[in-house]
Amino acid sequence: MTAALALRAPQLMTTPPLLTMTGVSRRYSDVVALDDVSAMVYPGEVLGIVGESGSGKSTLLRMMNLEDTPDAGDYRLALPGLPGNLFELDRFARRMLCATRIGIVYQNPHLGLLMKNSSSGNVAERLLIAGERSFAALRGRAREALNASEFPLERMDARPIELSGGMQQRVQLAKAIALEPALLLLDEPTTGLDVSVQALVLDTLKRLQRDRAITMVIVSHDLGVIRTMADRVMVMRRGRVVEQGLADQIFQDPQHDYTQQLVHAKL
C-alpha cells in the first residue's frame, strides 16, 4: 500500500519531477534505517519530511546528498547530463554533483562549515570547487550569496565560530545557494535556534524560495516549520513512508494513525 501511495503523483503537476527516488532501502547492521522508500520532488516545490527521531528522515536526506549509498534503490535527478542511477556514480562525479547541483544545510553548523575560515571563505570554497579562480569574482559572489541569505555583510569576514547560531545557519545557507543549486536540502535547519531567530531564518528561506523558485527538501520534527515551509509533506516512521500528501491535507485531515497522533500532539 505504501509503495503505491508514495508513487502517486500530485494531480495538478504537469512538469516531470526533478527528483525521483524509488525503492531505497538501507540497513545499518540490525537497524533498518530505510525500508523501500520512494519519493518525488517537483521543480520549484518544497517537500517536507516529518517523523520522530530514528524514523529515517535524516538518512533519506543523506542519501539525497549522496553522502551514503543504499543497499538497494534508484535515485535520479532530471538535470542535463545525469542519466541513470546517481547511486552508481563514481566518487569524483558524485563529489562534483554534490558541490555544484545540490546545496545542503545541516542542523549542526560544524558539519557544514569550516570553522577556522572566514564566513565569506566558506562560501568561496564552493565556488573554488566549481573552478572560480578570480579573487574579485570570489569576493563578489560570496558577498552576493551572503546578502541573499540576509547575512550582515559587515561581518562577512568573521569566522563562523564567532557568530550566533542563526548567523551560522545563514552562512550555511549562503554556501548552499552560492552555485544556484537545482536542489536545496535542509536538515533541521532551525532546530536549536530560539523561536524568534527561527522565525527569521524561516523568513529568509521562504523569501529565497519565492524569489528563486528553488526546489527544496526540508526535514524536521517540528510540524510548525513544515507547516510554514512545505507544499507537500511526507510522514515517515520506522524507515517507511506512512503517509504523504499536500501540506493542508496532512494537517487538516490526517489518515494514518501515526500522522493523526503527530498532528494532534502538536495541536
Binding site: R91, F92, R95, L114, N117, S118, S120, G121, A124, E125, L128, I129, G131, R133, S134, F135, A136, A137, L138, D157
Partner: protein
C-alpha cells in the same frame, strides 16, 4: 674454485653507505617520481647516521645518485659552511670518493635545504631538496588517505581557500616559504621551504630536481623542462620577495635573495643568502679571475 674467489672482498659498508637493495628501491621510486612529475611516491626511508628531520630524505636520494666522479655541493639556507652542510658534504665524499665543492658551477650533485642556488643549473646537474613536509594538502586535510584521494581527483580548491583567507585577513598573500605549485598541470606539490624567490627557478628548468622527505617517507621530482606554476588567483599575480633593490654589504652585489642582519642601532644590513656567490663576487672584486655563472635573476628580475 672457492667461495672466497666468487665473493667481493669484505668492506666496512656498501658503496655510498646504503645497501644495494635500498638503493635499488630508491632508484625505482625516483624513476616513478620522474615519470609522474610532482606526484609523491612512498618509499622505505632507511636509517642514515643522522637524525630524522635533518635532511635524511635528501641524503638518501643523494647517496643513491653518487658515483666516484660526482662533485657534491651541500647547501644549508644558502650557506656551504654551516655545521650541517659541512658534515653532510664530508660524509658524502667519505662514503663515495666523490669530490667536494662550494661552487655551484663545479657541482654535479647539489643537496640543499631551503634554497636553490642563484646561478643557473645546467642539464648535467641534479638538485636534491630536503623536504620536512611533503603534503601540500596537510593544512586543509589532516587525514592523509583523504588527501591522497584529493590528489587523485585534482581537488585542490581548498588550497586557494588558504590564499583567499590570507588576502582577506592581511591584504596580501602571506605564504612565504613552501608556496604550493602545480607541476606539469596536474599535481600540486610543496616545493620544500624554499622562499617564493626560488620557486620560479624550477619552472621549465634544465636540471632535474628531486624532493625527498625522510621522516614522511615520500619523494617526488620535477624533471627538466616541466611547468611549475605557483597557485595564484587570476587577478592577483604571484610576487617574489622584495629583494631586488637590496645590496649585499660585503660583496656589493645587488638583485639577489638576501639575508637580513640586524644591527645594534636598530637598523639592518643585508648579505647574499647564496654565500658562495658572495665569496666569488668578493674575490672577483679583489682582482681574482673567478667565473660567475649566469644567474636566474638578472638585475633582480626573472626573465620570462
Amino acid at each position: 674454485m672457492t667461495i672466497a674467489t666468487l665473493t667481493k672482498p669484505w668492506q666496512a659498508f656498501s658503496y655510498g653507505f646504503l645497501d644495494a637493495s635500498a638503493k635499488r628501491e630508491l632508484r625505482r621510486k625516483m624513476l616513478k617520481a620522474i615519470a609522474v612529475p610532482g606526484c609523491q611516491m612512498p618509499y622505505a626511508s632507511r636509517e642514515v647516521p643522522m637524525a630524522r628531520g635533518w635532511g635524511t630524505g635528501g641524503l638518501q636520494v643523494t647517496l643513491t645518485l653518487l658515483k666516484p666522479s660526482s662533485v657534491v655541493k651541500v647547501i644549508d639556507q644558502g650557506a656551504d659552511d654551516s655545521v650541517n652542510a659541512a658534515s653532510i658534504r664530508s660524509f658524502l665524499s667519505k662514503v663515495s670518493g666523490a669530490a667536494e665543492t662550494w661552487d655551484t658551477l663545479a657541482a654535479t650533485l647539489i643537496q640543499s635545504r631551503h634554497r636553490i642556488p642563484e646561478e643557473r643549473l645546467r642539464a648535467d646537474q641534479v638538485l636534491v631538496l630536503q623536504v620536512p613536509n611533503p603534503e601540500p594538502l596537510r593544512p586543509v586535510e589532516p587525514n592523509m588517505s583523504v588527501a591522497r584521494q584529493m590528489h587523485a581527483d585534482a581537488d585542490y580548491g581548498r588550497l586557494w581557500l588558504i590564499l583567499y583567507e590570507q588576502i582577506v585577513r592581511s591584504g596580501r598573500i602571506m605564504q612565504g616559504a613552501s608556496y604550493p605549485a602545480l607541476v606539469n598541470g596536474r599535481h600540486v606539490m610543496t616545493p620544500s621551504p624554499i622562499p617564493r624567490w626560488d620557486l620560479p627557478k624550477l619552472h621549465m628548468a634544465q636540471h632535474l630536481t628531486f624532493l625527498s622527505a625522510g621522516r614522511e617517507k615520500r619523494l617526488y621530482a620535477v624533471p627538466p623542462f616541466t611547468r611549475v606554476e605557483p597557485l595564484v588567483f587570476s587577478d592577483v599575480p604571484y610576487k617574489v620577495e622584495d629583494h631586488a633593490a637590496l645590496t649585499c654589504h660585503r660583496s656589493g652585489v645587488a638583485g639577489y635573495f638576501m639575508n637580513e642582519i640586524p644591527q645594534d642601532g636598530g637598523g639592518s644590513v643585508f648579505e647574499l643568502s647564496d654565500s658562495h656567490l658572495g665569496i666569488k663576487a668578493i674575490r672577483r672584486r679583489d682582482g681574482e679571475d673567478v667565473a660567475l655563472g649566469a644567474t636566474w635573476y638578472e638585475n633582480g628580475k626573472m626573465p620570462r
